[in-house]
């Protein structure tokens, strides 16, 4: 049995969580103060994921902030940024609009750009 100490990143509280695992199987999650923490901890010890926030070019002289709609694998963040560097968003673009897909996750606009 292994114990993993984590700091939850789901909200500013930053709960200290202890996860007990055995052979990649999560036995228990302790220290979290909400269900989001439980979910985070179970994922973090198996396959850590992060929401990516970055920018893409647009066809006007403005950068468009974007985010991944769902968390993507932590180890794939750099590849995602690299892929998105090659994309130029067509304006006008609306907040929430899909501008790309990476690893099956939608990359969406976070701002209106006229």
């Amino acid at each position: 049995m292994e114990k993993v100490n984590l700091t939850c990143i789901e909200c500013p509280l930053g709960c200290d969580i202890i996860v007990e695992t055995d052979g990649g199987k999560v036995l228990s999650v302790l220290g979290n103060t909400c269900p989001r923490g439980d979910k985070y901890a179970r994922e973090e010890v198996v396959c850590p994921k992060r929401v990516l926030t970055t920018t893409v070019k647009t066809d006007v002289d403005k950068m468009l902030p974007v985010k991944s709609k769902e968390p993507i694998e932590k180890g794939r963040l750099f590849d995602a940024v690299k892929t998105l560097s090659g994309i130029t968003a067509k304006t006008p673009v609306k907040i929430g609009e899909k501008v790309a897909v990476f690893d099956g996750v939608e990359i969406i606009a976070c701002m209106d750009v006229e």
Partner: protein
């Protein structure tokens, strides 16, 4: 000179929330003055997520959070002047502003809401030895360049200060291809949120040097390196601990200062603790009819609380204009042992409603009690597992307690 019921200085998260709230409380004659060419203020460059968890129960980016309020303002047709900088405010609430269409113009307001936000403490304030080459930026300036302009300020970076903007920029610049060699924090603890240490530093193996500072900046034209040193408990560099790090960029994330030049010009009383206005629980300043909210009043950790505070200020300004609400019976609210400030600094005991006391502690205290007293009389005593200067604390004083206050409210931290 034109007249207006409420002039709001600043169209960032504070100004927007205040405008919506003032409007919804009945005061429709509002004017928002915003210096940038879009609404939303600093949120527009904060493209990372984590905003709105408290208020909207979802994790939003800065621009998304701003958009919610911009939409609300637009839905109400509240007038906004963009690209407009306020030059001065007088104690009789005449606002002088400038833009390229109207020129310099004045508005006489019945109420003014100060919502100018804050600025970053600059490198200059730290008296760090060395040269003044290119490549020295405040974290916010670097953020503007990277996120809004699409330009990278440097490739090899050292960051001083572990405030949230510094941590966020460590990750941001790393993702955009820069190497962040170190984040130095002069205090023995980080001043940023724990989650940001994890997801901005640990995720990318960026070392955090606690109790360290930059003691010299090297480079004539462009930064070529920095010398960092460990510091003692008095924050003085310890000789012999110097370490040289080659880099082309230094980012400073060493604190935020409420930007109160206009407030000072109008004669608004300021608090040494917050560097913002001294306010009552309704966010009215020492100048009757002038209200303050958001980071110009106190530097918040979370925009969610900026919105909440600004709605309170907006409602108060509306009450002031429509009902002529005035301060009646004022008592002081003070920071005592272990507490660096308490806001509001004054309480009108005759106003209805609970009062939330916001405060910051001076150090990290574990297993402590937050104690609120009225003179000698203890009103509240709340056990806390841990409190730290980086995280704003709040306690609620119920209306019945407010009504019976007799002396002055004092907030302290007690450690057993």
């Amino acid at each position: 000179m034109r007249n207006c019921d409420i002039v709001i200085i600043g169209g960032g998260p504070a100004g927007l929330a205040a405008a919506v709230s003032a409007y919804d409380n009945g005061c429709k004659d509002i004017l928002i003055l915003e210096r940038d060419d879009i609404l939303g203020g600093i949120l527009n460059q904060c493209i990372h997520n984590g905003f709105g968890l408290t208020r909207f129960k979802e994790s939003m980016t800065g621009p998304e959070y701003a958009q919610r309020f911009i939409t609300e303002v637009k839905n109400r047709n509240i007038p906004v002047k963009l690209n407009t900088t306020v030059l001065s405010l007088t104690n009789d609430k005449i606002v002088t502003a400038i833009n390229d269409v109207d020129g310099v113009f004045q508005v006489k307001a019945k109420a003014v809401i100060l919502a100018m936000g804050c600025r970053e403490r600059s490198k200059g304030a730290l008296n760090i030895a060395g040269a003044r080459p290119a490549g020295i930026y405040s974290a916010g300036t670097a953020q503007k360049f990277v996120n809004c302009k699409g330009w990278l300020p440097g490739k090899n970076v050292v960051i001083l200060g572990s405030g949230d903007i510094g941590l966020i920029m460590a990750r941001r610049m790393t993702l955009e291809g820069a190497k962040v060699h170190a984040v130095c924090e002069i205090m023995p603890h980080s001043s940023g949120l724990k989650r940001n240490i994890v997801q901005c530093l640990n995720d990318f193996d960026i070392p955090l040097y606690l109790s360290h500072t930059i003691t010299r900046i090297d480079g004539k034209d462009r930064v070529i390196g920095v010398e960092i040193s460990q510091v003692d408990q008095n924050r003085r560099a310890i000789k012999g601990t110097e370490k040289y790090i080659k880099c082309d960029t230094v980012l400073f994330s060493v604190g935020l200062i409420p930007e109160n030049e206009l407030s000072k010009g109008a004669g608004v009383e300021l608090s040494l603790g917050t560097k913002g206005a001294v306010v009552y629980q309704n966010r009215e300043t020492s100048l009757s009819g002038v209200f303050a909210c958001g980071n110009v009043l106190q530097v918040h950790d979370l925009v969610d609380f900026v919105s909440e505070e600004s709605e309170l200020a907006g409602k108060s300004a509306s009450d002031y204009v429509l009902n002529g609400e005035k301060i009646k019976n004022s008592i002081d609210c003070q920071a005592k042992d272990g507490v660096s400030y308490v806001l509001p600094q004054k309480i009108d005991t005759l106003k209805s409603g609970d009062v939330t006391l916001y405060f910051r502690v001076k150090g990290v205290y574990k297993n402590c009690k937050v104690v609120v007293k009225d003179g000698e009389n203890t009103l509240l005593s709340i056990k806390k597992r841990i409190v730290a200067p980086g995280e704003m604390e709040r306690v609620i004083l119920k209306e019945d307690k407010i009504k019976s206050l007799s002396s002055s409210v004092q907030v302290s931290v007690e450690v057993d």
